[in-house]
Subunit: 405 residues, 2 copies
């Protein structure tokens, strides 16, 4: 079996963990598998490098920040190769440049454009384990472009696709994907498997387990992803699209998210093109808008509400005055201290009754719902941030997620 094994920052946080993980890789090789390893930066290395950048410049240029951050993964790749070599296993550390991972130059939020896998295939043929620096690609000029937070997952999946791997295994500081965040719901259970779309909704709605673009790419190419722990030997969660999935049409997981802010535009004239004039300036400022709710109205004036990450609120407020003016709205209000709680499961929308059960469970738990949005396989409620914890627990119980599947 050809497999990509990706190890996150916690799994390579220090020399002991690097040696531990190297041992796991070496065992896998002895079992006859062909392995390509992808590594993140050690522990908090990326944050340390950002702090260092901020110590020389209040607003570091994105191109230079990427050059700096890329060194974090270079270090991990070289150290992991050394650890494997010390165990008598041939290995070679590769930067994004050496691994042939080419990106477009949106520094800090690059996209993988293509992978020239010749070098990696050569190394595999020579019996060396390629250890690839995650989180980065290079432009045609060999400038580093980082792919965004948590994007080593994306490197691993993209390599899996390029190398036609049988599966991609991502080792993290969690044992798999859970029915809810175990820090919030103590009796949350690890899921044995999960459909790509379910994982994608969970990633988009606040689950930190997998990078959403990684899941998207794996789904497109039907590359199975295993999410497992590098510390504890448990089977983990397999994300796939295969027919051997667990029973469908049920809630698989409750996902929570925090630090949400809400912006309401008051008395917006109900004209064609209004939405574009509101959201285009936000998009240009790279402010990601999540939920949008416009109350249908028989009058000519309506309220329009949207949510954004709390950290983007100040920048959004800087734009709202001119937006209000351009569309003729009667000002805006903001609200913070909000959170999100979602139920996710393939087929939720097609089966009736899930929404009603969700609202009943929240009402019984005395949770007020501020906004509601839905997708094919998800129902999301915006609630006060103080209520997120009890909301998640109530839903976890109401949909029987605490019971063995």
């Amino acid at each position: 079996m050809r497999v990509i094994q990706k190890f996150g920052g916690t799994s390579v946080a220090d020399a002991d963990r690097i040696r531990h993980v190297a041992g796991q890789v070496a065992r896998r090789i002895r079992n006859g598998d062909q392995v390509v390893v992808v590594v993140s930066a050690m522990g908090n290395r990326t944050d340390e490098l950002i702090d260092l950048a901020l110590s020389v410049s209040p607003d570091p240029e994105p191109r230079e920040l990427d050059q700096l951050l890329a060194t974090g993964e270079h270090m991990s790749a070289a150290l992991m190769a050394m650890a494997l070599q010390a165990m008598g296993q041939e290995a070679i550390g590769l930067t994004g440049s050496q691994a042939g991972i080419y990106s477009r130059a949106a520094h800090g939020a690059g996209r993988i454009e293509r992978i020239d896998a010749d070098r990696i295939e050569d190394e595999l043929r020579s019996g060396r384990i390629p250890i690839v620096a995650g989180f980065q690609g290079v432009t045609e000029e060999l400038d580093y472009v980082t792919l965004g937070r948590g994007a080593s997952d994306l490197t691993a999946v993209a390599l899996g696709v390029a190398l036609q791997a049988d599966r991609c295994e991502t080792y993290k500081d969690v044992e798999g994907v859970y029915t809810a965040d175990p820090r919030v719901v103590p009796n949350a259970r690890r899921l044995i498997d999960l459909h790509y779309e379910e994982m994608l909704e969970m990633a988009t709605q606040g689950s930190q387990v997998m990078h959403n673009r990684a899941v998207e790419l794996a789904a497109t190419h039907e590359l199975p992803i295993l999410v497992a722990s590098s510390m504890i030997d448990v089977p983990g969660t397999l994300i796939h699209g295969g027919p051997e999935m667990e029973e469908r049409n049920r809630v698989r997981s409750v996902v929570d998210d925090h630090d949400i802010a809400k912006v309401t535009l008051r008395h917006v004239p109900d004209q064609r093109g209004i939405a574009a004039r509101i959201f285009e300036p936000l998009a240009e400022a790279a402010i990601s808008v999540d939920t949008i709710v416009q109350n249908a109205s028989e009058q000519k004036l309506t309220d329009l509400t949207f949510t954004i990450a709390h950290e983007d609120l100040r920048r959004a407020e800087g734009l709202m005055e001119s937006i209000c003016e351009s569309i003729g709205a009667n000002g805006y209000t903001t609200e913070t201290n909000l959170g999100k709680v979602s139920i996710v499961g393939a087929g939720i929308q097609t089966e009736s009754g899930y929404a009603a059960r969700m609202f009943r469970a929240l009402a019984d738990a005395n949770v007020n719902i501020d906004l509601i949005t839905t997708s094919e396989i998800r129902i999301t409620c915006i609630v006060h941030s103080d209520h997120v914890g009890k909301a998640v627990n109530a839903l976890h119980k109401a949909f029987g997620l605490d019971q063995e599947a």
Copy 2:
């Protein structure tokens, strides 16, 4: 004027110093000069990275160690570029790979093979200051090859040659080249200028001020090198080969070196090819032999003595048994706790009397001479390490180096 400015580890040790140095570079640009910057790793970063490597592997593979060490200079280059940008000065950090510095793959002791300066010239034309990571090149496969300790000097000179710079300025934690190490001789004076060959002898005989291969390369291409301090605004020392040199045929500097070990092969048969059979195995083990003395003898048996760095002694001893056997020598002895003291000055050998004055000065200071070697412009004595300090001071005084030139 087109100039290469190279800043050593101390000059970029932390954010404050990086900003300080960036200010110097920016002032230089405002004065109308065209500048290419070369940086070393911050402070003790290279040693920290070596320690990290040793924590995952007792004997890290040289290729992976180079991959790891190269990140030290990558960091400095990115941070220096950020600091310049924060001052409103366009700049771009370049790795050895991006700067087009190609090396042969002798990992840890690479040689610069060629420099493809297109990218650097492009950046200069665009008005950006290229900040190049020193100490490294890449193979055609883009694998990093480090060039040896202190070799950022070499990067700077090689770039100066490739870019046809008017001069190369190396900023260090010293104010220039001195008549002797100021830590040993308190009244040592800074030299205004120095001939390439004098600097080369000094570098080879233990002066840490400039990398010897860098001086060699500068001499071949007649590129003047300024050695100056990045902290204190003094003129520094200009190393060149021009006609405006100070008066020749005199001692310019006293150089000391420490931690020398001596190996004596006893009763070596005086046959052709013996020396090769002794020194080839040492060269293959990358043990650098310094002084070699063979006492001419009318007998068929002679003693042969050579000196090496103390840190290489254990590895040399591992080879001596088989060397003795192969040449039929009657065993070997070793001696440690030795140091070296040299007087350097163009024309020393052609003028008479320098050697006699040196030996007289050492005798008057009660320093026993263990071995003597000479070159065109240098006389070196091996002495007990406890005597190095008083030997240097005695010679500094005897040759009038404490007087204004």
